[in-house]
Every structure is written in C-alpha cells, then in structure tokens.
Amino acid sequence: MLKTRIIPCLDVNNGRVVKGINFIDLVDAGDPVEQAVIYDAAGADELCFLDITASHENRSTIVEVVAKTAEKCFMPLTVGGGVRTVEDVRTLLIAGADKVSINTAAIKNPQLINDAANKFGSQCMVVAIDAKRVNKSYKIFTHGGRKETDISAIEWAKNAEASGAGEILLTSMDRDGTKMGFDLELTRSVSDALSIPLIASGGVGTLDHLAEGVTKGHASAVLAASIFHFGLYNISEAKAYMEKVGVAVRPIEII
C-alpha cells in the first residue's frame, strides 16, 4: 500500500537553512546540501526546499543548492519560493528538482499552473497555499504570508486542482512555527475537497502532531521543519511513532 510520506522542509535564505517562527525571527541552522544528505541517509521520504526570500532577492543561489543536492541525494525533491514563470519552473527542474511549488504567482495568474502542467506534467506542479482563519472561514495569503486575500482556501485548492496541480502543500499561517500541531480542521476540509494528494504543513511540535495530520487531517504527507532540524526528533523516531499509532510508513531502508 501507499505509505504516508514524512517530508522535512528546509527554509533557505541566501543559500543557508533557516526556520522562521511565524515567518519572522530567523535562526541559522546550516548548509542545505549537508542537511539534505543527512535527511537522505536518515530515510526521509522526500525533501522540500523553500526559498523564503526569493520574492525579493537573487534566485540563483537556490538553483545552485538544488543542483548540488541532486548530485548527492537520490530522493524526491520539491523546491518552491518565488517561482513566477514557466521558465523559473524549467530552471529548477533542469537543476534537479522533481517538483516545483508555486504560491503567490499562481494566485495572481492561475494560468501559470495550466501552462507549467501542460509543459512538464501535473506530477511536478505543487501549488502551495498559505491559509489563515479569518472570522469563520479560511482565507489565503500571498507574499510569504504577508498579504491577505479574499479567496477561500478550499475554493482556491479546488481551482488549483482543476488547473492541473498534481499536489497541494497547505500551510496554516496560524500554526506555522507555534509547535501547537497542524490546523486539523483546515487540513481536513481542504484534503476532503480534493482528489489530488495534500501535504499538511505548519505547526508540528510533537510526533503525535505528525500522525494527527493523517488520521484527523486526512493528509497524504506531512511536512515539518523545526522538530527535525534542531534534533528534537529524528526521522526514524517519527516513523516508529507513526507505525505504532497505525499510520503506515515506509520502513528505513536496509540495503
């Protein structure tokens, strides 16, 4: 059977790994290629690089990071942050990314999803959604969570699927960096509205949070950053816990 994927995410700023607390106070946690190699050896199921400052700054550093990672890690790699055009998608895929996630640019121009999916296939198009509870519903935010929109998270996710997205990466802005767990209501309502896989993100502080993303949030994969980077838990502890509570995961390779 298909296994739940555990995906460490490396937030990358100018070629260095950082992790934001609610997208602000950044703490340096090292070299992304080195970390990718560690996660590869540790049995992570995929890796995600999020270039967090890409909207404002030079993008060539992330392309170099991806190229170096692809030389050493033979595992699926998703890269996002500041991707604006079909050409940006192509550059990252050629460098060695398997999937490219787009966020703000897709909201400004949903045709970008169609264009990129037609060119490279839906399997490599991830639409990243930053959502936050506003009154009684969930709205999406752009520009790394800085700009509010009036668009419903569920409607936008369905729209992205219809446009050719192969997967949705859903981050709760309310929970990101808080270690309080995923926003399960958000995760479940979006996941249940889709026929493509959803990666839950934002708020993981314990191993139980990871499992809940699947059992209660109905996610196909769970993404976390801080709990892995700062050594709170490792991938095999996460997998052992998931297995124990009945979430099927891929065993660590023995070859």
Binding site: S220, R250, I255
Partner: protein, 213 residues
Amino acid sequence: MNVAIIDYGSGNLRSATKAFEQAVSELGGGTIKLTKDPDGLKNFSHIVLPGVGAFSDCMTRLSAIDGLIESLQEQVFIKAKPFLGICVGMQLMADVGREHGKTDGFGWIPGEVISISPHNRNIKVPHMGWNDLQIIDTTHPFVQDLLEGVHTYFVHSYHFVTKDRSHVLATVNYGKPLTAIVGRDNLIGTQFHPEKSQRTGLRFIKNFLGWRP
C-alpha cells in the same frame, strides 16, 4: 559499459544522470551520456529512456527528433541491447497510450496505458509516494536481492495494462494491483523512479547495468 540516457527535453534528466553515474561508480566504472543523436546510439551498450509528463507529449517530443524512434527500434528491438524505460519511458513501450487522446506507443510490449481512475475517493491521483512491490518473477536478474516488500517511489496518474500477464514482473497495490515492472527479452520498464528511490533505486539500476539478457 557505456550507457545512453535519451535526452528528448523531458524534465528531470539531471537526477537520472546523477543516479546512473553513482551506480556506475559503485560498479567500478563506465560512462553515462545524455544523448539525442540517433546515429550515435549504436555506440552504446545500454539504453535508458526516462520520461515525465504525459504519454502524448513525450511521444511528440521523441518523434520531433528526426530518426530517433527508428534508431531506438533498431538498437533495442532488433539488436536487443538492454533497455530500461522509466515511468512514461516505460509506458511508451505499450501499443497505445490514452493520456490526452489516443497515441501510438512503440508496440514493444503489447498493451495499453490507461487512467488509474479509482472508484474510491480516498484513492488520490496521482499515485504519489513510496509503495511496496509485489515481485511476480522472482528469478529475473533485475530484481536480484530486492526482496518482497521493497519500497520504491511512484508518481503517475496512468498505468500500463499488458495484454500478456507474463510481461508483468512486479505489481504495486493502489486500490488494485497496478503494473510496477514490465519486462520481456532485453526490455525492462519501471513505473516507479529508481533514480528517486534511494538505495533501493540504485540497486535496481545496478541490477539493470549488470544484466546480460
């Protein structure tokens, strides 16, 4: 050994190339070359056809390179060089693909490539992630040392239904059994991505490179 990876503008060729380079270096040497030169294919010992995207788009791009499909037919189907098709590269061996309309494939392994189309809404498409293989032909050198239950990385929305069940070397369960590995004579195809399947994937690549069909 001298391996050609066919470059026809398909997405992530770099990861395939790097994985094959790693496998070759672990086997003690050989060359890996990305190529789209039809005449040059005769100089290689192994031919690999990667592929991401839609069946019809991949076929269109291959056909756009003058003489490439004819050269593949010659080197693979007639001269019987070991051939590995990956993902859509595997699906192209079918008679017909049904993704974005009906498109003829190479017709090397009889069958059709059709949508996964699950009945159960909990089955998400694409089939994306790690899934365990059910090996049917356990004696094939390609699966040597890869025991029942090894996990490989899949990402696909269409699957290969072969006419002859004996051409299926392994299946994967996703709501129903789907073809995971096809093979006949000198041909091997994987629906999964060995180049993305960590040590298990490298082992498959090494098995392919060591295979003498």
